[in-house]
Point group: C2
Chain length 373, copies 2
């Protein structure tokens, strides 16, 4: 299975055509990598109407040959600047069929410093700030990307199970997190997708809790873990919430009853949303299906975030389920579904899975890990 | 020992005064944290000529109270934007003694999207792109920062020693890296300073080698490790290069001879540079002292990077030793000194320590780890 980078660039060239852009300067390293396969840093991509040129430095000469054999590279030598390389690239020739006038730039990753310098250096060009052009392309995954995300999810689950099996009763949230992140790597991950959340008891009510060293597992009734491994530059993103030995113990009947009540509501919201996922479904309607279930159970005010987001090369990829999201789902998007109820001072329950939009409905890519494991 | 955040903000207000700025919008989260103590994300700092105001959202209400009790916060509520908060802040009142006209913004961390939106929303203000104002302040460390960096270095060294002691002979570079990073956390680190470099044999000649799974330690003659722990938001950054059991073995006499020759030159460059460090010394002259030793040994072309850089809240803090650096050292700067010789196809040797500029000279903060350990 190979990746057709040229096809990706052609899709961006189509966007350029529709928006009367003669060129595009890509500076976000994730987008450079998506469009070329090259994973180094400090490098830009010039995309003309005819062909693409990587602008890089001598640290990356060999890596570009290896990772992007089908893309030309202009390598900066001592005394040269990237601006000099761009100047050479924008003449009529292999990369541009005509002299570029309007050039797209990425408004969320181009710094003001770079923009000022570009405008000074290329007074003959009009730089057009653009949002989300490559990010929109990235929403639809190809077969290679889907299999990469499957692998990252498998690694995430294997590491979670190992950690659950070996974790000591005196582990703080920090200890738990450190074990989990270590095991994501030992199970084949290149890195973690994002800083893992491990929270005990009332701290589970903080959707972005930072693990602390205060409490030990033996003193906790419940645990929330939000984690994911990254492999081959693609991520997984899962959440599980469970009762500890103490939480399951005889002294915690009332606590257990509350946990079970909330868990059941969150799970119902989770399942109903997933059942509704299919091409053509409107994102805010999927969000509403889950939100209405939580609302009608009386906990609407305790579900303060969107239902989910796209995942891919980054954990918050473009697209998502929220009350205002008017976009529609398309086949081969991959989204998280992660409803939650967070009661301040008591705790929060979240269940998060990764879901592929299929031509006829959906497939839960993380279904091998039961929601209550 | 407490940190005087107000004093830091006053130093920036002095810079504002010198540059006729009535306000400053700080968006780089590292700089927001440096100036206020608040470590959350997605938050900005408005600094008027009179006082400071954090602009944040409801996720961080409690964290701001805890981390920045002396700073006012404007918390965005549903339907509000950060721009609305800024609008409220810039009237004459607690934060500004007069109506702001010229406002500094950080050109390297303000995105084009934010800049465009600011200019649209505040047509009455002139936004002045500025570089390195807070970064320059951050170059000089106070007593708290120096002790934080000492602690991060101690953790880095403890983790390195543990890893060296327990690492298996079948460990690949990736395995070695994973153990080291795990142990940096177990030894008290909050995180790693940067993705650690672990390279064997010829791969040590790549100054930014990414660890591979190809070769096992038992098959390697030498190892280069470039690593550092982060604790309390401050980093350490060290490099050691050593011969393995195999490299020390009887069959490797020629290899060992070459290693010893190069190591001696690099160490001489390292020691000579450190001896010359003191307040008032010119950075490029420190670089030249090390570079000339390597050049006169015939390896000048194999030392392709600068001699060192500032460290602090980030691993590449402002300031550094390079052939063009005309700045002078001041007391309480902390710099890496890291000469190297990299022979393509054979391997590279780098020795890196962290050095505090003292009122009369320098102190090597990592001297408890011998250069050949």
């Amino acid at each position: 299975m190979t990746i057709n980078f040229k096809r990706r660039r052609e899709r961006l060239q189509q966007v350029m055509l529709e928006n009367e852009l003669d060129g595009y300067l890509i500076v976000d390293p994730v987008n450079v990598s998506y469009l070329t396969g090259f994973n180094g840093e400090d490098s830009y991509l010039w995309l003309g109407d005819s062909d693409a040129l990587l602008l890089s430095d001598s640290r990356f000469t060999e890596q570009i040959k290896e990772e992007s054999p089908d893309v030309d590279a202009a390598i900066r030598v001592s005394g040269q600047t990237t601006y000099g390389l761009i100047k050479d690239a924008i003449g009529v020739g292999k990369y541009n069929s005509r002299v570029p006038k309007k050039v797209g730039i990425e408004s969320s990753s181009t710094t003001l410093a770079l923009y000022v310098k570009l405008c000074e250096t290329f007074s003959e060009l009009e730089f057009v700030p653009r949002s989300n052009d490559v990010e929109k392309l990235r929403e639809i995954k190809d077969a290679w990307e889907i299999s990469a995300i499957r692998l990252s999810i498998d690694i995430s689950i294997a590491a979670y199970r190992e950690t659950r099996r070996i974790i000591c009763q005196d582990a703080t949230e920090v200890d738990f997190r450190d074990e989990l992140e270590y095991r994501m790597r030992k199970c084949g991950g290149d890195d973690v997708s994002f800083p893992s959340i491990v929270a005990y008891d009332a701290r589970t009510a903080l959707p972005h809790a930072i693990p602390s060293r205060r409490v030990r597992l033996s003193d906790a009734n419940m645990v929330l873990v939000d984690w994911g491994a990254k492999r081959d530059y693609y991520v997984g993103d899962l959440t599980r919430t469970y009762l500890t030995e103490r939480g399951l113990g005889a002294s915690s009947a009332e606590y257990r009853r509350k946990f079970t009540e909330l868990f059941k509501i969150v799970l119902e919201a989770h399942d109903a949303a997933i059942t509704a996922i299919k091409p053509g479904a409107v994102c805010k309607e999927i969000d509403a299906i889950a939100r209405d279930i939580i609302k009608s159970s009386g906990y609407g005010e305790y579900f303060g975030h969107g239902l989910g987001h796209g995942i891919g090369r980054v954990v918050h990829d473009s697209g998502g389920f929220s009350p205002n999201a008017s976009s529609t789902l398309q086949a081969n998007m991959i989204m998280t579904v992660e409803p939650g109820i967070y009661l301040p001072g008591w705790g929060g329950i979240r269940i998060e899975d990764d879901v592929l939009v299929t031509p006829t409905g959906s497939e839960v890519l993380s279904s091998q890990l039961p929601v209550d494991e």
